[in-house]
Amino acid sequence: MKRVLSLFITIALLAGIMSGCGNSANTAGDTQGSSSAVISGTPSEDATNTDGLVKVDEFIIGCANHITGPTALTGVLRKNGYELGVKEVNEAGGIDGLPIKIMYEDDQGTNTGAVAAAQKIMSSNKAIVFLIDRSTMVNAVNPIIQENEIPTLFGATANSIDELNNDYFFRMRVKDGGNAQTMAKYLVESLGKKKVAALYCADTFGEGGNTETKKALKENYDMAPVTEQKYTAGTKDYAAQLLAIKSADADAIYAWGTNSEDNAIILRQFKELGLDKNMAFIGSAAYASSVTIDLAKENADGIYSIYDFSPDDTRTELQNWYKAYKAEYNSEPDFWCLSTYDQVKLVADAAKRAGLVKKIGNDYYIPELKEARAKLADALRETDHYKGAIGDLYPDDYQNMVHNMAVVQIDSGKLRLIENVTLDQ
């Protein structure tokens, strides 16, 4: 008992000491962090114009990717897109001569993992820009991005990200609101459907997508879905949901889900339970991804989807990317590969516009980290119709950069372009 008491007293004393130390630990931690902002070499060894500049061998881009975990597949697709972009930029001479390189950290497909990955990248004090994905992960790393003032590009589509009002965020895919508008419009105006049913996943993407589609239906056509069927990701059997939709007498289903296996099972059961006889099916982007189509095979035929692109779109930049991807990886690219490719190319373009890289003699110099990040962010905000593979890139009020998408239909396992849609501002 006595020992425990003395322990207690010791701890109380230590507590007192530590709260005093608390302050210095705080600043010590901070200064420790910023003092290693020097990447290599010391700024004080100057030639005349290297004040505030740092010598580097590469332009480092930080990236939180799914290397392990349930979403590892998406990670591979994203990486393919990233690396294709890196290859093209470096083959064209990098950023004014300086090659770029991506520093990957594994987020394990979870939010905690994303936070850890972001922390790790920030701690290395080398990354000038940060790349990430998935709406919940973007939410999770929001405070870290704000604190480090690092421009961040991502493809996550949840509308709610706009509300974070983080002006270091740059969204590189059309957000859910836009996709939902197009979905609703196509269902009602082009397909003439009157009784639509919702089938969506119980995660941020699915819920957000459903909310936005309902909103678009209500505001523009005063329509509401006849039934809304929700499911948890990873569900293996959708008979309950599909039969409920059938008994509600719907003439179309709009579906929001990211998981390819779930989507493929839904499409298969949609056909096998006979719903395709009197119902149209329009799905979010993942429904038209090559992974889903490979799984669902002929069950995907006839399905519509709001997709980022269509391979039979003749636009030059898109075709260049499409051909380059197929040549490099010998497989069909997905929207995952498109957005990430454009992210890298846009970063290189913005860095050039910001004049970040200075060549002095045989060495390359960029500004100190904080300034480099700020300049890059400014350049990104000033992007004026950069011709990306996905389309024209320019920021709106929330720094969403992409404003066009395609309505596609799957035919014999391939995507057929139905129409290109550009969102009005």
């Binding site: 322990l7 709260s19 705080n26 709406s135 709610s160």
Partner: protein, 335 residues
């Protein structure tokens, strides 16, 4: 011997106090903070699984209840962290009483399954009760606490908050283990029916142990939420209960030093082997299997057997038992 132990203890505490000064990476600091949070949950698990011998796979549910309670109280109801923390613990504890009452009447495996089932249900509630928990979006923007004008904003100074709370809870668990109540629990673990014949109501004792584990987990949940600043339902899944159980078993069931060793090892291990890139999670799985097979009494149990002197340093009130009566020599019979 006692004096020596006390000095070593004080040195150890001093080291803990200055630890943040030695850590240069913000990221490693966060890992250490996370280890401490896990440590608290695993300490709680010690009450119900270590002392009382009941299988609980519901720790994540209580951890989640604590985290969500704290998040909701601080964001929607304007509570301060210091107020939210104990409330989260208490709410989780109430959850423990609620869930414990019916399930603790079951034996071993059935109890385990019931706790899994409850865990799954709680997880689904987090995901789908959107009005309360904001569903899959999660709750962002959880702020760090402050005392007066001083705000614990970084991983470095929040460390002290977590550390002190962890130490207080640690002392509590030592006091409980060596109290009459603690001995009751150990008796129940050994032979429940025999204990009941001595006139002890095993069910209420188990309930108290279970509620304590829920309390600890709830407090840890609140700390976690404010450490990371963001929580979402995908954190509170069955897999996490397994992690906690792993930390617990590998550290050593029933020992005081067990939870600390187990939680730090399992939290830090993936980081250490991360250089193996794609293979590191697979190797982690194998390491867990090897640890489980080679060290069924946990690391501390192994120390008790083979390194008794070291064991006596780290384990308060450790007694080295007579030959033949050591832990691990009991034959496990029955289901």
């Amino acid at each position: 011997m006692k004096k020596k132990k006390t000095i070593i203890l004080l040195i150890f505490l001093a080291m803990l106090a200055v630890l943040p000064k030695l850590i240069t990476s913000n990221y490693i600091m966060q890992i250490i903070d996370l280890s401490l949070v896990n440590f608290i949950v695993v300490m709680g698990l010690n009450f119900v699984t270590g002392f009382a011998g009941q299988i609980s796979l519901a720790s994540t549910a209580f951890w989640g209840i604590g985290a969500y309670t704290s998040a909701i109280l601080t964001t929607t109801c304007g509570f301060s962290f210091w107020a939210a923390l104990p409330v989260s613990g208490i709410v989780a504890m109430l959850g423990g009483i609620l869930i414990g009452y019916p399930t603790l009447k079951l034996k071993k495996f059935y109890l385990g399954i019931a706790t899994i089932g409850f865990g799954e249900i709680v997880s689904l509630i987090f995901l789908n009760w959107t009005t309360l928990t904001k569903g899959s979006e999660g709750i962002p923007g959880l702020s760090k606490p402050s005392i007066g004008a001083f705000k614990f904003t970084s991983n470095y100074n929040f460390y002290y908050v977590i550390l002190i709370i962890a130490l207080i809870l640690l002392i509590a668990s030592v006091l409980i283990k060596y109290s009459r109540f603690g001995r009751t629990l150990l008796a129940i673990r050994n032979d429940e029916i025999a204990t009941e014949t001595c006139g002890i109501n095993a069910h209420s004792s188990k309930m108290i142990a279970f509620s304590l584990s829920a309390l600890y987990a709830g407090i840890a949940g609140s700390l976690y939420a404010h450490l990371i600043g963001f929580i979402s339902p995908d954190l509170f899944v069955f897999r996490q209960s397994i992690s906690f159980l792993c930390m617990f078993m590998i550290g050593g069931s029933g020992y005081i030093a067990g939870p600390a060793i187990g939680s730090f090892l399992i939290t830090l291990l993936p980081e250490v082997i991360k250089f193996l890139q794609n293979y590191y999670m697979a190797i982690f799985g194998i390491l867990v299997v090897i640890l489980a097979i080679a060290m069924p009494t946990g690391i501390v149990g192994l120390m008790e057997k083979h390194l008794p002197r070291l064991y006596r340093y780290i384990e308060p009130y450790a007694e080295v038992p007579e030959k033949g009566l050591e832990r691990g020599n009991e034959k496990w019979r029955g289901k």
